[in-house]
Symmetry: none
DNA sequence: ACGGGATATCAAGGTTTTCTCAAGGCCAAG
DNA sequence: CTTGGCCTTGAGAAAACCTTGATATCCCGT
C-alpha cells in the first residue's frame, strides 16, 4: 500500500513495528542507523519515515534536519525520551508526529494511517469531494449523495474547474480559458447556459443554489452546502 | 496567522488553550458545544479544528464524522479518555492528532505548528481580520462574529479597500479610485450611500459606529471595535 | 448658539448582469 | 442519410445592483 522506511536500532522494536506495518499491507524497509536510513530514503522516495531519536551514529534531530533538507515526506518519531522540551524541539525540527515508548502498536498503526491519509492523498488525488458531491477526475464521473450524474463533457469540465478551486470565486473568463481552451471567440453566455444545465442536474436552481453560487458581477463559486 | 476553531466545554481548558494559541498570533474562535462549533466551522473555513471528545451535546466521534463529511481541515482531538481503543477509533474516524489531558501547552502548540505546517496554511484563501470581522478575499465573502454578510459587489470591494488599510483614514476620492476604477465621473455621494448600506449590514449606524468611523472632512477608517 | 458645509438616509428610477427557454448547427454513430 | 447528443447563440424576462435627487442630520468654526 505505502512505502515506509523505519529507522530504529533496537532490533526487537524494529521487528515488532515492521511486522505490524507489513501486516497492514505496507512495504517496509528498515535501517538500524541514521546513515543507512538516509540512503534508503534517497533511493526509494518513501511515503512515510518512522525514526527513533536515539540512533547510534547521529543525533535524531540532526537526521530529521537532513531529511527535511531534501524531502517533505511525513516523519513520525518514536523514542523513549519523553521530556516535553524534547518533544517540542523535535516537532519544530520538522517531525509530524511523536510517539513515546513504550507505545501501543495499535495506536502506532492508527497514527500511521492518519499521516498517510494526509500525505498520500495530497499528491495523486484525483478525486474531489465537496459536501455530498464527489468528482472522480480520472474516471470522469461525478455523483451527488451517491447517485451518479450524467454530465456532458463540457459540463464535467466546468464542474471540475470549479471544484479544483472550490470556495473561490472563478470568473467566466477564467472558466472559458480553463474549459474551452483558447483562443476562443465565444461569448461568456455559453458558460451561463452550461451552468444552468449543471444546476438542473445537481437538483438546484439559480435562485436557490446549493453548490453553485453566483457572485454577481464577478463569477461563480462552488461551495459546500449548509 | 491561522484561523483555528476550538470546541471544548470545559471553560478553564478552553481559556487556557485559546489564550496560548492567540499568543502565537492565531485567530481563535471557541465553542462549547459540538453544534455551535460546527456552525463556526461552516462559516469560517478554518485552518485547524481542535476539539474535545466529551462534548455535552454530541459524541465526539459523531462530530468528527460530520466535520469530515464536509471538510478535510486538520483536526486535533484533546481529551481525558486515554484508552488505546478510543485513540485508535478516533484517529481512524479522521482525526489527525490525539492529545491526552492533562497535556503540556508547549507540546500542544508544537503539534499545532506541525499540523499547520502540513496543512499548507490556507492555500488560496487570503483573509483579513478586523476584530470580529473576517473578510475572505478569494471567496469574496465576509462575516461578523461568525454570521455571514450578504454584500453586493461594490459593498464588498468597499469593505475590502478599507480593510486593506485598516486603522488608516481613507478619503472618498481614494475609495472611488480603488473601488470604482477610473476615470469615473460619479459623485462621491455614491460612496456615502454604499457606506450607509455597509453599516446597516454590519449592524451599526453612523452615529454609533463600531467598525466604520467617519473622520469628518477627511474620510473613513475601519477600526477594530472596543 | 448659529450657519455653512459635510455626511447620512430614504426612495425612486435606470442600468447591468444573469437566467432560462428555444432554435439552429455540428459531428459522430447507426 | 438519418438520428441523437452536444454545443452555441439569440432574446425576453427577471433579478440584482448602482446612481441620483431630496431631505434630514451632524460637525465644526465663529
Amino acid at each position: 500500500m505505502a512505502q515506509i522506511i523505519l529507522i530504529e536500532d533496537d532490533i526487537e522494536i524494529r521487528r515488532l513495528v515492521a511486522d505490524a506495518l507489513a501486516a497492514e499491507g505496507h512495504d517496509v524497509e528498515t535501517a538500524a542507523t541514521a546513515m543507512s536510513g538516509l540512503e534508503l530514503g534517497i533511493r526509494n522516495t518513501p511515503d512515510l519515515v518512522i525514526m527513533d531519536l536515539g540512533l547510534p551514529d547521529l543525533d535524531g534531530n540532526e537526521l530529521l534536519r537532513m531529511i527535511r533538507a531534501i524531502s517533505s515526506v511525513p516523519v513520525m518519531v518514536i523514542t523513549a525520551r519523553g521530556a516535553d522540551e524534547t518533544v517540542v524541539r523535535t516537532l519544530d525540527a520538522g517531525a509530524d508526529d511523536y510517539l513515546i515508548k513504550p507505545f501501543s502498536v495499535a495506536q502506532l498503526l492508527a497514527r500511521v494511517r492518519a499521516l498517510l491519509r494526509r500525505g498520500g492523498l495530497a499528491e495523486g488525488s484525483d478525486r474531489i469531494t465537496v459536501g455530498g458531491l464527489v468528482i472522480d477526475i480520472s474516471a470522469r464521473e461525478a455523483a451527488v449523495d451517491g447517485t451518479a450524474l450524467d454530465l456532458s463533457p463540457k459540463e464535467f469540465d466546468l464542474l471540475r474547474a470549479l471544484a479544483e478551486r472550490q470556495g473561490e470565486v472563478v470568473t467566466k473568463r477564467e472558466l472559458l480559458a480553463e474549459v474551452w481552451r483558447e483562443p476562443y471567440g465565444g461569448s461568456e453566455r455559453t458558460v451561463d447556459v452550461h451552468l444552468s444545465w449543471l444546476r438542473k442536474k445537481l437538483g438546484e436552481t439559480a435562485s436557490d443554489p446549493k453548490y453553485l453560487k453566483t457572485i454577481h458581477g464577478v463569477g461563480i463559486k462552488l461551495v459546500t452546502p449548509d
